[in-house]
């Protein structure tokens, strides 16, 4: 669904003439902010689905960066940048649809199996629903953009665009592209942390209390997820299939000739074929190493005692509750980004020596939502309320305040209060006064803007400044 926004943006971009450079940089800035903040909020979440949703914010940030780079290419007239930017964005849109879909499906399977999405109460699901766990791991690897899978292909081209951007002439856009590279790297790292946290806490380790006995995911769900997983791997291993496909898309957006696109892409990044070669090498290595390991283990199989509990450095009574939970796992990262997130922590420290319940509760409020938009909407309605009632407080209590005005100013204040009251009451005199006032203003501007009666005066069109 989020992609419709992206689609709208791209469609409009294809209509508008190439926008000035500043728009492109603003777009990249948006991408950076939404990416970094998105993944940070994702890291701080406790609910599985909210976490995935915030992650979409991060991926949209990456797509935004790609589009920004495409626009920058358009503004600077560098077809390579345009091809890489829009191509990367489109590819990432496709990949994001695949692995995010897979993630939500398997999250659904988790919730269906255990009845809750609360990460801290889940655990050890890999044993009960191994297939679901495998799918989630696969999707997690591709969403962090790690090599063998499809997430990497999209990010790889966006990286190419950003690196190409750093070479663009105007210093500011080069700087912003460098910032883009750094933030994309940071996002990659944070995404990795976030999904390691989710996978580790939900699927691995010992089962925490509070969840139903997990049932295996039914066949139908597994089939659906299977299709997406196969697609992810296919694109990851054979990017050559997809890249020309996005080429067609780019040509529509930036009306770039087919020739230019073909020439532009390889100038910066090697043809996608090399990626598939490396994927083959990678899988080959895994296979050989696995075989070697199995061989060694068979050879020196030793009489294994019954599988023992994990070595807890000698502490025998380790309970599942002592495992790392989601918030503790992410806390070290979150605390280092405290400035950005300002997480709230409520600590009921143990009071006495034998204190009863100590309780630590920390959650991160979505800053954009709570500190940016809510006040913005409140202020907008207050301003319109003020204009409607022409009083500072929003309700017409102006009359009382005039009584407090100083003696000397009283007549003047009375007139002003009378006037605003009249306007608020909507009396006819005020309406006619509006007409006279508009006439006055219009002629004053006209005379001020075009003094002198002679000649054909070109009025200084204040409104028509065209910052090209």
């Amino acid at each position: 669904m989020i992609k419709t926004g992206i689609y709208g943006l791209l469609r409009v971009l294809s209509w508008l003439p190439p926008l000035p450079r500043t728009c492109a940089l603003v777009m990249v800035a948006f991408g950076v902010v939404s990416g970094v903040l998105g993944v940070l909020y994702a890291l701080a979440q406790h609910d599985l689905k909210r976490l995935l949703a915030y992650h979409s914010v991060e991926n949209i940030g990456i797509i935004g960066m790609g589009i920004g780079m495409g626009m920058l290419g358009g503004a600077l007239g560098k077809p390579a940048l345009v091809a890489l930017g829009y191509g990367g964005a489109l590819l990432h849109v496709l990949n994001h649809a695949l692995f995010k879909g897979l993630l939500f499906l398997s999250a659904g399977a988790v919730i269906q199996a255990t009845g809750t999405g609360e990460i801290d109460r889940l655990g050890g699901l890999a044993r009960k629903t191994p297939v679901n766990a495998a799918f989630f791991l696969l999707a997690a690897i591709s969403i962090c953009g790690l090599p063998p899978l499809n997430g990497f292909v999209g990010e790889w081209i966006v990286y190419g665009a950003l690196f190409e951007g750093t070479r663009s002439v105007p210093r500011l856009s080069a700087g912003v592209s460098a910032l883009g590279v750094v933030s994309l790297a940071l996002m990659g790292g944070l995404a990795l942390a976030c999904f390691v946290k989710v996978f580790g806490v939900v699927f691995l380790g010992k089962e925490r209390t509070g969840t139903r006995v997990a049932r295996a995911t039914p066949g139908a769900m597994r089939a659906g997820m299977g299709v997406l997983a196969v697609l992810c791997v296919a694109i990851g291993v054979l990017p050559g299939l997809i890249v020309p496909l996005t080429g067609a898309g780019v040509q529509v957006i930036a009306d770039l000739g087919p020739m230019e696109f073909e020439r532009a892409l390889p100038s910066v990044l090697a043809p996608a074929g090399r990626l598939s070669l490396l994927a083959m090498v990678f899988f080959g290595l895994i296979a050989t190493l696995a075989v070697v390991r199995r061989g060694l283990i068979q050879k020196n199989a030793v009489a294994l005692p019954s599988p023992v509990a994990t070595w807890g450095c000698g502490y025998a009574a380790a309970t599942p509750r002592m495992q790392y939970t989601a918030s503790s796992f992410a806390w070290s990262l979150l605390s280092s980004f405290r400035a950005l997130l300002c997480p709230e922590r409520r600590l009921h420290a143990p009071a006495a020596v034998f204190s009863e319940a100590a309780h630590l509760e920390s959650h991160t409020v979505d800053m954009a939502e709570q500190d940016l938009f809510a006040p913005l909407f409140r202020a907008a309605s207050r301003v319109s309320r003020m204009i409607q009632t022409l009083s500072w407080t929003g309700e017409p209590a102006m009359e009382r305040r005039s009584a407090r005005a100083s003696e000397r100013l009283r007549p003047f204040v009375a007139v002003v209060v009378g006037a605003t009251a009249a306007v608020r009451r909507g009396s006819i005199h005020v309406y006619v006064a509006f007409i006279a006032f508009t006439l006055l203003v219009v002629f004053a501007i006209e005379v001020w803007v075009a003094p002198g009666a002679e000649g054909h005066s070109a009025p200084i069109s204040v409104m028509q400044g065209a910052p090209q």
Binding site: V268, L285, L304
Partner: protein
């Protein structure tokens, strides 16, 4: 990639695979020399590997297949990265435009699997190690990428082989200070990634203080061998990037280049040994400060190169 070149590369590949444990022993030796001890014999790491490969494996009840896959994928990722990084000669086996990003993300893939394996055991110690590893890994990525940006800018190309090859020599000419900063930043990233002293103490026995060691606490037998070898290989790869960045020169004949690079790597290992013996571990909060420092260094380098290239 002609078949001839592949055959020609085999001896070099064998050398690359054999060298890493030797570097670890050089570090151990320098630390021992500093401590006035003899230190373990030169081939100790090889003996350890041999011993581990011959030992049996013990798995805890709570672990799943992820625990078993962790070491394998980690080592495979690193071997893949090895094919992309110039160690002795200046061109790489499979290098291509944009492989810089692939290398960084292969390292990240390795780290992800090891961390997941650690969390699979379900013990709070390994969880702690995992959380720290992820935190410092995330913080080192920006510095690494910014250094790549600087190298790409200075040498106008995105393939690591060219970035660290002949064009870099010219780059040292006009943006020498920036290159110096990049080398410093890469050194700090090396120390973080391979868990050397200022960030993490490989030789400690107190789990609470470890980062990398505690994650691999539960591995045994061949898995543990894979992991130790992977750590050594990672040191070699990042080391060779650092060395190539620090001392770039046009690629002479292989038989001159190889020994020269080996000597340089040995010197680097000794340098790391010296650092380990002279510095104490940093408190965890200070480590993020150190990584921020690395980021600032490469940032400054970037500003200098921007200023110069976009004059």
């Amino acid at each position: 990639m002609t078949v001839l070149r592949a055959i020609g590369a085999v001896p070099e590949a064998v050398a690359v695979l054999a060298l890493p444990p030797m570097l670890l022993s050089i570090i151990a030796k320098t630390k021992a020399w500093f401590g006035g001890r003899d230190g373990p014999p030169w081939l100790q790491p090889y003996y350890d590997l041999m011993k581990l490969l011959r030992k049996g494996v013990v798995y805890s009840r709570t672990t799943t297949w992820v625990f078993r896959a962790g070491p394998i994928v980690n080592l495979a990722a690193l071997l893949c990265a090895a094919t992309l990084i110039p160690v002795f000669s200046d061109d790489t086996l499979l290098g291509f435009g944009g492989d810089v990003i692939l290398i960084a993300y292969l390292l990240a893939l390795g780290r992800m699997l090891t961390v997941l394996a650690a969390m699979d055991t379900g013990s709070s110690f390994e969880g702690m190690g995992a959380s720290r590893e992820v935190t410092f890994g995330t913080m080192s990525e920006p510095a690494l990428f910014l250094s790549f940006v600087v190298l790409a800018l200075a040498t106008k190309s995105l393939s690591l082989a060219e970035m660290l090859g002949a064009p870099l020599q010219a780059a040292w000419g006009d943006v020498a200070p920036a290159m110096l900063l990049v080398v410093a930043a890469l050194l700090i990233v090396l120390l973080t990634e391979t868990c050397r002293v200022p960030v993490d103490d490989p030789a400690t026995h107190l789990e609470l203080t470890m980062i990398h060691e505690v994650m691999v606490l539960d591995h045994s037998g061949p898995d543990f061998a894979y992991i130790t070898y992977a750590a050594a290989l990672k040191f070699l790869l990042l080391g060779s990037i650092l060395v190539h960045a620090a001392l770039p020169h046009a690629s002479w004949a292989l038989w001159i280049d190889a020994p020269l690079r080996v000597v340089e790597l040995a010197v680097l290992a000794m340098l790391v040994g010296v650092i380990e013996s002279s510095l104490a571990r940093l408190r965890l909060q200070r480590v993020s400060l150190l990584l921020a420092g690395a980021f600032v260094l490469s940032g400054l380098a970037a500003v200098l190169t921007f200023y110069r290239t976009h004059a």
